[in-house]
Amino acid sequence: MRLARRKILALGSGILATLSMPAIIRAAPAEVIEMRGTARGERVWFRPHGLAVTAGTTIRFINRDPGNSHTSTAYHPDNFDRTRRIPKAAHPWNSDFLLPDESFEVTLTVPGVYDYYCIPHEMAPMVGRIVVGDPGDAGWEGPSTDTEDVTREVFDALPRVEDILDLGRIEQEDGT
């Protein structure tokens, strides 16, 4: 009995030690967004195409479409002079073309709404939205309202921020 109790105490100490470890030792938050497509390329999509994360989360984009290449490209003037659709203080990214099973990572630290697209499939429309933090965070910047630089189809394909925050992630298996 005494031995068992000692084991429990040791276990409890271990848990406490883990919880009190400096943040730098604990695993940083990470999420995966897949690039998907049907066999004949009729439909292509990000999965999920709506995602809520905490600041500091690393997003890994990976191409799971065996018959196509894709990009993850932030709407930003640095990328082909597109209108900015990510927080002003955030760094834009462009994965360049990812062949099947290739991946690209980006860490998002600035609270706000990030919209991105796939270069060869923007007209599809293969686009996605990531919400970092929530509107109560310092420095939060909400979604862009611009409709000049994107088509109506792209604008309508971006999930609502409220829905992303409510659900955490929005995805559909076949991209429809």
Binding site: A39, P66, G67, D96, M123
Partner: protein
């Protein structure tokens, strides 16, 4: 005079027919040679595309093609055309396109959302050159 004219016309026809047959014969095995280039060498796409195989195209003929589609053994299996829907609806016609082989056993037409090289919604028109071609190009 008339006989001479008919003979010349016959020879010309035979010559053209021979050239056409010769040209397609040269395309039956991969690589088809210049001016064709392998699509995966010039665009960020996999070397073998499931459903389409290994593609070669003459860059000047983009976007319509023809794209010559070879199986894993380098056998010409299909000729593929890619026609942007917006261009078609705007009145663009793609006429007198070449074929990789004169033997066509079946044709598939289907929608594609886009890919490097033809990065807009378009139709794939696939002419299969033998009964087993679709299966060999599948994976």
């Amino acid at each position: 005079m008339l006989r001479s004219y008919m003979l010349s016309a016959t020879l010309l026809t035979m010559s053209a027919g021979f050239a056409l047959a010769h040209d397609t014969e040269a395309l039956m095995e991969s690589p088809p040679g210049e001016p064709y280039v392998q699509v995966s060498d010039v665009l960020p796409l996999p070397e073998f595309l499931p459903g389409l195989g290994t593609l070669f195209v003459v860059p000047d003929t983009l976007p319509a093609g023809p794209f010559l589609a070879y199986d894993h053994d380098g056998k010409l299996s299909a000729t593929v055309y890619m026609t942007p829907l917006e261009a078609l609806s705007s009145g663009t016609a793609y006429n007198d396109l070449h074929v990789g082989s004169h033997e066509v056993t079946s044709v598939d037409v289907y929608y594609n959302a886009g890919h490097p090289g033809v990065d807009e919604p378009h139709a794939h028109v696939v002419l299969y050159h033998d009964a087993d071609a679709k299966g060999r190009l599948a994976q």
